[in-house]
């Protein structure tokens, strides 16, 4: 505590920012050009330690290409990638693990043998990590079953277990919940949250299942046609996704006039007999009594949050 205070005092003196989180990944003007098209076009991303960065985009938007360039699977046409403050990717990659595109493993081996290969590859001496990881991802009971006979959910969990060998600090997951059933999606989501909260692993996760990302991500980047169209954190998102008060009435036009008279100009839309107010109105009692006083029959009154998926889609279409 006192150390922090000293740091703050020094920072004020030095005009620096000591409490700023460590930057795990910094991508500057990253571009990948295939033939005549830019698959990734001047993308800038910053991911800090402890973040769960949700990378959102349609199929073919450039998510996988960006991730591949970050871990050295694909060479950028231009731009700069810094992993843990170092531009030498081979050095930085030793602290990173990935699951890119399909879960990659040896189908003729069982889960234990697959983890063994990865353990040898990463030079981890402690053999007990194999059992620990199998336990963590819930594959301890898979026994001698060959990986090729696993269900999709088991394959995804095995791929994550492989990625966790060697205690990575930064996990890059490309669409890890693709093709999973709701139970599988929840399992993977819980696992990612657990890894982030308990092991402090920074996560860079891409998906086009937008509703899922907002259950775990702390920061977001939206990519469309190779361009990063927006970057914001979870708090900013909740502010941007407007609440909606839906009131079902017998006379919507009169209701709109009454609301405007009482609360001034608001963002109001009318759909059949439903009046939707896209603003924060704290005093519901006042709103209700104003409508009742004007002899308007109110059959329902609900407060809803705009669907995140609709918001993300609007972002990707460039409508926001």
């Amino acid at each position: 505590m006192s150390e922090n205070l000293v740091q703050v005092e020094n920072a004020i003196k030095d005009n620096t920012r000591p409490l700023e989180k460590e930057c795990v990944l910094k991508v500057t003007d990253l571009t990948k050009r295939y033939a005549r098209k830019n698959a990734v076009d001047n993308v800038n991303i910053t991911i800090n330690k402890g973040d769960i960065y949700g990378f959102i985009g349609k199929n073919g938007a450039g998510k996988t290409t960006t991730m591949k360039m970050i871990v050295g699977l694909s060479a950028p046409t231009s731009g700069c990638i810094e992993l843990f403050g170092d531009t030498k990717l081979i050095k930085g990659c030793k602290r990173v693990s990935t699951v890119i595109e399909n879960p990659a493993f040896y189908p003729y081996m069982n889960a234990r043998q697959n983890i063994e290969v990865q353990r040898i590859l990463k030079g981890v001496e402690d053999k007990s990590i194999t059992d620990e990881l199998l336990e963590l991802v819930g594959l301890k009971e898979a026994g001698r079953k060959k990986a090729k006979n696993f269900s999709l959910g088991m394959k995804q969990r095995l791929a994550i277990a492989l990625a966790l060998v060697g205690d990575p600090e930064f996990l890059i997951l490309d669409e890890p919940i693709n093709g999973l059933d709701p139970v599988g999606i929840k399992e993977i989501r819980d696992l990612i949250l657990k890894l982030n909260k308990e092991a402090g692993i920074t996560v860079f996760i891409s998906s086009h299942i937008l509703g899922e990302l907002n259950k775990m991500a702390t920061r977001y980047g939206v990519i469309n046609e190779g361009k990063l169209v927006a970057e914001f954190d979870a708090d900013e998102l909740s502010k941007m996704v407007k609440p909606c008060i839906k009131i079902m009435v017998n006379d919507p036009e009169k209701a709109v006039a009454v609301i405007k008279e009482k609360f001034g100009e608001l963002d109001i839309k009318v759909n059949d007999n439903t009046v939707c107010i896209y603003e924060n109105i704290d005093n519901f009692v006042e709103l209700k009594s104003a409508l009742v006083d004007a002899e308007i029959i109110v059959s329902s009154f609900t407060k809803e949050q705009e669907d995140y998926e609709s918001y993300f889609l609007a972002l990707m279409e460039g409508e926001v």
Binding site: K68, V71, G72, L73, S74, A75, L89, I90, K91, G92, C93, K94, V96, S97, T98, I100, E101, N102, P103, A104, F105, Y106, P107, Y108, M109, Q113, E116, V117, Q118, I120, L121, K122, G123, L162, A163, G166, I172
Partner: protein, 259 residues
């Protein structure tokens, strides 16, 4: 690179094809010795034992039996990381691409030696049973050692070519097709090239075969009959093949993206 080599050995030793092909190589080595025995019987009308044949002759007769099977094993092993997608795990964990290439080369070289030892052991045993063990003088030891060493070095040039094809093609099926198909195409294609060079370009005394490792693989089994010039040419040609194919393989592997 030690970790990569260790992991590659773990992978190959957990495949079924490694053991199946090793068993088939041993079987072929045994059959090769028997086949030689039958050939001698049919050609000369006498049993091979009357020609003073023994286990040392059997070793050289059975040694080439692994050829096709080793080609299959290498053609399955090298592109396997690409087809399973596991090469992404390896590269993304910070492994250097040159180290990955040399690790595969080391494992392939070891497989070459293992398969050669298996074939030698199988043919030695068969020769000892159907003929006799025979006398092993210092000269015979040296001749055997020179023949086998020259054979393995020439074969390493072929293995190096198979590895390069595996890294270029990145698909097991196509790699097998190319590596097994090359000797068949070689017969026709290289004869044509040789003809073209001699007839059209008027390059006299040119034999294209002299620049192919497969020529020296065949010649190695009669090492004692080779002149020192032939041996030197063989060493240079095979060395050059190893060097060139390795450089091409590494450069393309380094430059191409992983899909």
């Amino acid at each position: 690179m030690g970790k990569l080599i260790k992991a590659d050995f773990y992978k190959i030793l957990h495949t079924k094809y490694f053991y199946i092909c090793a068993a088939l190589s041993a079987l072929m080595a045994v059959l090769s010795v028997y086949a030689y025995n039958i050939t001698v019987l049919e050609s000369y009308g006498i049993y091979a034992s009357f020609l003073n044949l023994n286990s040392s002759k059997a070793i050289l007769e059975g040694l080439p039996a692994f050829g096709t099977f080793l080609t299959i094993v290498i053609s399955l092993f090298i592109p396997s990381d690409f087809s399973y997608g596991t090469i992404k795990n390896t590269i993304a964990s910070g492994a250097n691409r040159i180290s990955i290439y040399f690790s595969k080369m080391t494992v392939s070289l070891t497989m070459l030696v293992i398969y050669a030892v298996i074939c030698c052991a199988a043919s030695f045993t068969t020769g000892s049973i159907i003929w006799e063990v025979g006398e092993y003088t210092r000269e015979i030891y040296i001749d055997l050692l020179q023949s086998i060493s020259f054979y393995l070095f020439a074969y390493l040039a072929l293995v190096s070519f198979y590895i390069m094809v595996g890294f270029l093609v990145r698909r097991s099926g196509i790699t097998i097709a190319i590596n097994i198909g090359i000797p068949l195409v070689e017969l026709v294609l290289f004869k044509f090239i040789n003809y073209a060079l001699v007839t059209w370009l008027k390059i006299e005394d040119f034999t294209f075969n002299d620049y192919l490792p497969s020529t020296y693989v065949s010649k190695a089994l009669n090492f004692s009959t080779l002149t020192s010039q032939e041996i030197n040419t063989g060493l240079i040609v095979c060395g050059a093949w190893i060097l060139v194919t390795t450089i091409i393989g590494i450069i393309t592997f380094k430059c191409r993206d992983i899909k």
